[in-house]
Structures are given as structure tokens and as C-alpha cells.
Symmetry: C2
Subunit: 466 residues, 2 copies
């Protein structure tokens, strides 16, 4: 008789236990092809289960081809059902780069672009997502359109017009999974083989990686305290697009002047290049009101990219594109092909959050908090490094640039600093092989509490002096 054990205390139903065990034995060749199985009656009696249980297991094995039933003769193991199961592959997976995951250990991290995570409006957001889930129509639980929920696109178009001078209709907006997806979509939409794009220099390594992976040639255009230096845009072979951060250059922090904006737009019109405007943290402008968007000056040549990562939370993965009308169709199609659409409920919750005025109140509250953090950081830098520090790029956003006279941020120096349990980011990350930035560091203060800023600057001092 077939050796087969069942476990009556297991959660796994008896039918499935019998099925799995017979399947295993056939696959391993313990039961070989042509072998006759006991009748369902016999096996049932042997196992002390109802005959139906065995019949169902046999039926399933027959339907999947493991067994065959010959009428009048019985049930047999089928041919071609033997397979040598392979064991583990012995490859070890490297842990993911966690460098931009916030750590909780005793390390003070001045990474830029992280908002105050402990000030996320948990209660409000939790209530909103719950309410959306309870109140949404049944259809909202099905598939949606690639461009995202109309509810969100409508309030967003109004919000952008009011606060950023962005000139658009809801139809021009495509909701993306964060700005990262928006960058990737733009590249996939516009780039063909041999194309080049123009990036600011310095810029983030992530941006360079996204576009070089898509095969684009990168034209790096220098930046000064008035933003991208438009006179260096290539006269021949214009780039497919020019990616700029006009409200708050990343990482230098400069604001693009109106003259350069106009030169940029004129260049785009003359060459047919698009301008991609990355407006990542312009809401937090500490003197005066936020600088208006470039998009508002020329909606037909600017692709505007926004994100809720800095003003709300990166964990939500909510961003968007505002597109020139002629690009909308192609972008919707591409979004559909790559992931159909972004998650519906977080879109609906965000629409409510904006509509009810929560977003603007949250931004106002956070601006106050960030201003305090910025002011403390500036004050302490000046106090601990008198006559030595020069601060720039601090009019807007979640980071500033500090230049420390006579300090080179070499790998060796950075290592000494990190030993003090503080992490800072040298400008060289953003502008490889550019000597002039060697004494500069980028300091994000969005997610560093006042006490940690104090402690951090003391540690920086020690790390620099050592």
C-alpha cells in the first residue's frame, strides 16, 4: 500500500494534504509512471477519511495530468510527470542601499530633501483615508484612468494656479508615483537614441542615473547664484530638454532670475527643446512669497514636475506632471503601459486634503518650523565657525549650502566627521570633479530637530578640528 501520511491537527484541508503528498511523490519519482494507485475506496479506508476526500484529490491530480484514469482498470501515475526539484541557489542578495532611509540610531543626519517626518498630520490623514475608503463609490475600487482621479487633478489645477502661477487645465495633469516616476516618464516619452539632454551642474546623482540609463547624452550646464547659466546652452545640437530647478536650484539654492528665465524660454522656442521644471520645494520660501513657476510663462514649452514628498511625505509616492497639451495623449498611454495608474485611495484622500484647505495650513505650519530650524542652523554655523563660514541658498526650501574656508571635505575628513555621529553631504556628490565646490557642504534641516541641530554643529566642529 502507498505510504502516505496525513496530519489531522494541521490547518491544511485533508484533500489538499493528500493532493500535495501524491504530487510530491510523483514529481520526485517515488511513485513512477505506470504505477497503479489504490482505489479511492481502499485509500480512504486506509487513511480513515471519507471516500469523497480521496476522490477529489484524485480528480484534481487527473485534471493536472499527474494521474490518469483508465476506465474499468483504475488510476495510474501518468508519464512525463517526473521532475528533479532543485535546491537553493546559494546566491546571497546584497541588502539594499539604505543610505536614504532615515535611521533611528544616534546619528544626526543632515540629508537634504527630507521633511519633518514626525510632523506628518497622522491623525487627519488616517481619518481621511478611512473616510475615503468608507464613502467611495463601488466603482472607485475598480480600475481607474492612467492620468489619475479627476477629483485630484481638478483641485490640483486650482491649487497650482493660485500658489505657483501654473497655467493648466486638469486634463494636462498626469498623477505619478512621486516625482521620480515623472522624471522617468519624461525621459521615456521624449528620448530616442543619440539624443542629449541638458542638466544643471551641480545636480543630483539620481537624476543623472535615470537619464543615462535611458541612454541620453548628458550636457552639464554650469550654475551660479542666479541659476543656470543660459549662455552655455549648446548652440548646435540642441538638447531634447533642459531640466532646471528655477525656484530653488538643487543643490546650490539659487533662484533663477527673470532674465535667465526669458533666455531659457527663448532658447527653447528657437531650438524646439522642452524645458522640464522641477519645482520640488518652492513652497517653503522664507522671504517674500514663493517665486512663480516658469511654466506660467510658457505652458507650451515647459513640462512642470511637482511632488508631495517634501510638503507631505515621501512614503505616499504622490507626484504629478503638468504637460504641454500635445504630450498628454502619449504620456497617458505610457503611464497605462508601465503601471496602469497610481493608487486611487491616496489620490482621493489627497484631493480632500487640498480641497478642505488642510494642505495650505500644513505648509504654513511647516514653513514656520523650517524657518526656525534654518535660523538656528545659520546662527550656530556662524557661532561655531566665525569668520570662516559662508552660507548661501537658504532663501527657500529644506537645505542650505555652507562653505567652510580652509576645510576640504575629502573622504578622509568626511570619515572623521562621521565618526562624531553626524552625517553631512559634500557638494562633490552633486558636482563630481569640480574643484571649486570642494569646501562646500549641503545641509538639509527639514527632518533635524532644534536640539539635534545644536548637537550636530558641536559634532561637526569636533569632526572638522580633529
Amino acid at each position: 500500500m502507498l505510504w502516505l501520511s496525513i496530519d489531522r491537527t494541521s490547518d491544511i484541508p485533508l484533500i489538499r494534504q493528500i493532493y500535495l503528498e501524491l504530487r510530491r511523490q510523483i514529481l520526485r519519482g517515488e511513485l513512477s509512471s505506470g504505477q497503479r494507485l489504490p482505489s479511492s475506496r481502499e485509500l480512504a479506508a486506509h487513511l480513515g477519511v471519507s471516500r469523497n476526500v480521496v476522490l477529489e484529490a484524485y480528480d484534481q491530480l487527473i485534471s493536472e495530468g499527474y494521474l490518469e484514469s483508465k476506465s474499468g482498470s483504475g488510476t495510474y501515475v501518468a508519464q512525463g510527470a517526473y521532475w528533479e526539484l532543485t535546491s537553493d541557489q546559494g546566491i546571497t542578495v546584497q541588502p539594499s542601499d539604505r543610505s536614504f532611509i532615515v535611521t533611528t540610531a544616534d546619528l544626526i543626519d543632515f540629508r537634504s530633501g527630507i521633511p519633518a517626518l514626525d510632523h506628518f498630520p497622522r491623525k487627519l490623514w488616517g481619518e481621511l483615508t478611512k473616510r475615503v475608503c468608507l464613502e467611495a463609490s463601488a466603482a472607485a475600487f475598480g480600475y481607474s484612468t492612467p492620468e489619475g482621479c479627476l477629483e485630484l487633478r481638478s483641485v490640483l489645477a486650482q491649487y497650482l494656479r493660485r500658489t505657483r502661477g501654473v497655467h493648466c487645465q486638469p486634463d494636462q495633469i498626469v498623477i505619478t508615483s512621486g516625482a521620480a516616476q515623472a522624471f522617468s516618464l519624461v525621459g521615456q516619452l521624449l528620448l530616442s537614441a543619440e539624443d542629449t539632454i541638458a542638466l544643471e551642474n551641480p545636480t543630483t546623482p539620481e537624476i543623472r542615473e535615470i537619464y543615462s540609463t535611458l541612454g541620453a547624452g548628458l550636457d552639464l550646464i554650469p550654475v551660479d547664484d542666479r541659476g543656470i547659466q543660459t549662455q552655455w546652452l549648446p548652440a548646435s545640437k540642441p538638447p531634447k530638454f533642459i531640466l532646471v530647478t528655477p525656484s530653488h536650484q538643487f543643490p546650490l539654492g539659487s533662484v533663477l532670475t527673470i532674465q535667465r528665465r526669458i533666455e531659457l524660454l527663448q532658447y527653447a522656442k528657437a531650438t524646439g527643446s522642452y524645458i522640464v521644471e522641477d519645482d520640488y520645494d518652492s513652497e517653503f520660501r522664507y522671504s517674500g512669497t514663493p517665486v512663480s513657476s516658469l511654466q506660467g510663462l510658457s505652458p507650451e514649452s515647459v513640462i512642470y514636475i511637482g511632488s508631495f514628498s517634501k510638503i507631505l511625505s515621501p512614503a505616499l509616492r504622490l507626484g504629478y506632471l503638468v504637460l504641454p497639451l500635445e504630450m498628454v495623449q502619449a504620456c497617458r498611454r505610457l503611464k497605462r503601459l508601465i503601471d496602469l495608474h497610481s493608487s486611487t485611495f491616496e489620490q482621493l484622500a489627497l484631493a480632500e486634503f487640498i480641497q478642505a484647505g488642510h494642505l495650505e495650513r500644513h505648509i504654513a505650519r511647516m514653513k514656520k518650523l523650517y524657518r526656525q530650524r534654518r535660523d538656528t542652523l545659520k546662527q550656530l554655523l556662524n557661532e561655531y565657525f566665525p569668520e570662516q563660514v559662508r552660507i548661501s541658498g537658504d532663501s527657500t526650501g529644506l537645505h542650505l549650502v555652507a562653505e567652510l574656508n580652509e576645510i576640504d571635505f575629502s573622504p578622509d575628513r568626511l570619515h572623521k566627521i562621521e565618526q562624531q555621529r553626524i552625517r553631512i553631504y559634500p557638494m562633490s556628490i552633486y558636482a563630481p570633479s569640480q574643484e571649486k565646490y570642494q569646501k562646500q557642504i549641503v545641509m538639509g534641516f527639514g527632518n533635524v530637530a532644534i536640539e539635534d541641530i545644536k548637537l550636530g554643529i558641536q559634532r561637526l566642529k569636533r569632526g572638522v578640528m580633529e
Copy 2:
């Protein structure tokens, strides 16, 4: 004196009103370069506002380059700040294809692959997302790793081992925005110029579109009632991968037999092709227990793709890849480049949902519901089309295939049927130019209530008779 109007009843702060109005006049050339502005004192008196308000507006316009201040002489409109604003572009955006959005009008839609949207566990899910939002660590509101939350990957690995015989560690899982993103990632990871892939024929047009857009040559392999016909796999120039739906072929509904499974795996081993296993609705098997995955037989050559769209809701956009170990690193990098990671809170809510046993209870409940719908549909088809209908592919999942003798589902016929306010899907959508499928339709019953199935079959009868 400068003409400038302010609105004291507006929500827009006075500084911003003055800034925006001056900016507009300069851009339009109404204030031309070199023109002297009134002193802040004069303008403040004229507008009846405090002098600081005007000073701040002037300061911002100076910092953005619209104005320049000459010491001792006053404030002037700068050069190069004139820009002719363009008006709307007159392009109209076509509305998105809404054909797979569920409509609420009086149309009975037998679209496949839509779960019972009105049975989504709203209350439970709403509570869970709220709780996750309240209880998550502050770090959870920051950036996460591209492969997704460990909490979810851990419970998922266990769940897949238990219910699907999938053999994997949490490290082999990458959480994606639905299965759609998983398909796209696999293509981007594996395909180079000139590569071909093998698809089942019939298959969905979406799958064909995703891969042909990525430039792959498509090798269409016929399917019969035992699944993909492995003998037609190309002997020379093997495909980069073979995409199969072994648990429930889409759309024919057949289950891939063990013999074919083994032939497929042998082919993959011999040629170095990967197998991509799309396991989209295997949880709903109505006779016996779910068929075990192909992945469990050969984890090193099978890429397993799963989704929560059919068992929970497509609106969540939660899917995943289970990868052979050697692909993990590259896939994480690509996921990081395309959208950094999927939304954290829905991942955490889902982890809880699975961990607490809610998912398996939900599946059991839905299986009961779907079985009733399937049985009603079969019974009514047999009743309304006696001697004429042949039903297949109904052992598993959310759709079945009906073949109606003597009825060709031509565009003309389909139009007549749709006039009866019922929508059905001819097999020809999935297998273009294949004559033999002309009499077949694919009928999804997941989201059609019993009463609507009754009404729908009456309408189908009328549409077919007319």
C-alpha cells in the same frame, strides 16, 4: 503714478498682490525697462498700505531680477524682463479610454478580471489604513527601499509558500504597483534589441502592447485545453522569456498539465530562457484546491508575478515579483530608477491584512460568492441557449468561455448585442485573425450580481436573435 489695484477682500496677501501685479506689468511690457518706480513710501501712501508691504514686494522683485535698485537714485524696471505671454494652445485632449472603468449606467458589463467591487472589505481596510498611519514609526513616513516593506515581503513569502507552493525568501520579492508594473519591469530588465519573447495565443492585447512597445519580437504559441502547446516553442533563436498563465490560461481557462509544465521547464533549462508565470486569479479554484505554482518546481528559472487586483481591489495597485536570486539586484535598481518604491502605507496595511488572516477569510468568502455567480451564469447559458452553448475554462477564476454554435461575433453582431445594454467580449480581441475562435466569447462574472447575470443573459439572447 503707477496704476496698480489691490483687493482687500481677497485671500491673497497684499504683498503677493503687489508682487504679482508688478510682475505681470513688467512681463507684458506695460512697465518698460529703465522705467523708475515710485518710492516705497509714495506707493505705500498711494495704496494705503504699510511701507513694509511695498518694501517686501520690491525686495522679492529685485531678488528675482524684475527690478533693480540704484543706491540713492531709486528702483527701476530691469532689462530683459519682457516676455510675451502666449495664450491657450487650442489643442483638445481626447478623453482617456474608459472602457475598463466600471460604468454605473444601466449597462451589464461581463468584462473579465474585475472582482466584486461592492464586496471590498471597506470597513476593515479603512480601519487598518488608519491604524497603520497612527502607529507607524516616524521613519515610515520617509523614503523606503525599492523592493518594498520587509513586513509585507515576509508575510507574503509565507503566504505564497502555504497557498501557492511558491518557494522563496522575502529577499526575492519586489513589491510593484500592480502586476502591470511587474510585467513592464521584467521586460525592461531582460530585453535588448532584437530579442524575442514567447506569449500564449490567445493572450491580452495589453500584454502584447507592453512588450511590443519595449521593442520585443513576439512569438505567439498556440494554446489548447491543456495549456500552452510546448511543442511549438522555437527550436532555434529561443525567446528571452516565455510568459504563461499555467493555473488558469487567460483567456481560454485551461490548466497547464504537469507534462507540459515539465516540458516548459526543460526547454527553459536547455535554452536559458526564463519563464514568467502570471498567477492572476488562481486562488479561486472551484473544484479541488488551487493548482500549485510552476515557480515551486524551478525557482531559478521562473519569474512569478502576483497581484492583489483580483483578490482585493485593482485600485490599490499592489502586485509583486518573485525573482530568481540572480535578478534581484538589477530589479531593485530599476524599480528605484523608475519610481523609488511603492506607497508605504498600503503595503503596511496589506501586511497586517494578511498576517491577521483577513486575506484568506476574504478569499474564502469571495470564492463562495463567485461560485454562485459562475453556477448561475452556466445554468442560464444552458437554459437560454440549449443544444447550442459549450462552456469551458470555468474551473478557476473570474471568467469563463462560452462558444455559441452558429453565432459569429462579428462587429455588427456585437453592436446589436450592445444595443441591448449588455457588453460581452469576443475571443477575437485576444486572438486576432484566428478564425477558430470566432464563435467564442469571454464572460467575466466577478463583478456581476446574480440579478444582473439573469438580466444580462436575457439581453444577450435578444441581441443574438435579432
